[in-house]
Symmetry: C2
């Protein structure tokens, strides 16, 4: 199976598949003409990687997860640990984004959005002491 088919079936761009080979995540064989030749096991790994990446795991996490996947004597605790760390990371990002969202939506609501120059958004950006918000809300 050539890279085009592997891309089609795994849902990953060919570029990405080559990159994954570059960094040692997969090791497809080579045909006589130099083309990469993907086995079922390679395809399997690629879909595994695609799924893991879509859940936000880093490439490094993926490497670990692939290794655990191949290791029949793994402890599920090791897998769980990786997933829990990632989950905590996601939670931190959500908190950060939610905080941004809260502040920004207040500012957007307060802005008239007309032809006049007065703008509470710019006022906030400009007037704030480092690290301090001047947006005062009743809640």
């Amino acid at each position: 199976m050539n890279i085009g088919d592997a891309a089609q079936l795994s849902g990953l761009p060919a570029k990405t598949i080559r990159y994954y080979e570059d960094i040692g995540l997969i090791e497809p064989l080579r045909s006589a003409n130099g083309y990469r030749s993907f086995r079922e096991s390679d395809l399997h790994k690629l879909t595994f990687l695609g799924r893991a990446r879509s859940l936000g795991f880093t490439i490094d996490d993926c490497r670990t997860l692939l290794t655990l996947y191949r290791d029949r004597s793994r402890a599920s605790a090791d897998v769980k640990h990786v997933a829990q760390d990632h989950l905590a990371c996601i939670d931190r990002k959500i908190v950060e984004l939610t905080e941004m969202r809260r502040t920004l939506s207040h500012l957007v609501e307060a802005c008239a959005g007309d032809d006049r120059p007065d703008c509470p958004i710019l006022a906030d950006l400009a007037a704030v002491a480092p690290g301090q918000s001047c947006v005062r809300q009743s809640n």
Copy 2:
């Protein structure tokens, strides 16, 4: 005022301030010895940038916002538009992360996390058809 003081007062690393000059966000003067010399207006811009960045605006957004800030004849609608676009971007990210979080937390909960190799997390990563989740939940 040298870059160290500007960094202290703006809360930005000196490295970042030099970078901002590189990409044309600020234009501090130079002293006879070649050191950057920051005016009040430069410092003002730096805190503006720090605040905008902390709200997640891209550097490109910051450039636009700085221009609008300087422009006394701006329309607040233009500022609001930039902020609303960014808000929509944040919302998309939150949705994406929340979806990841949901799936991942189900998997983590389902994993025993003990010495045995059986692991629903790996099972999900391995068994899924591209783009499809096999985690079935009652909700």
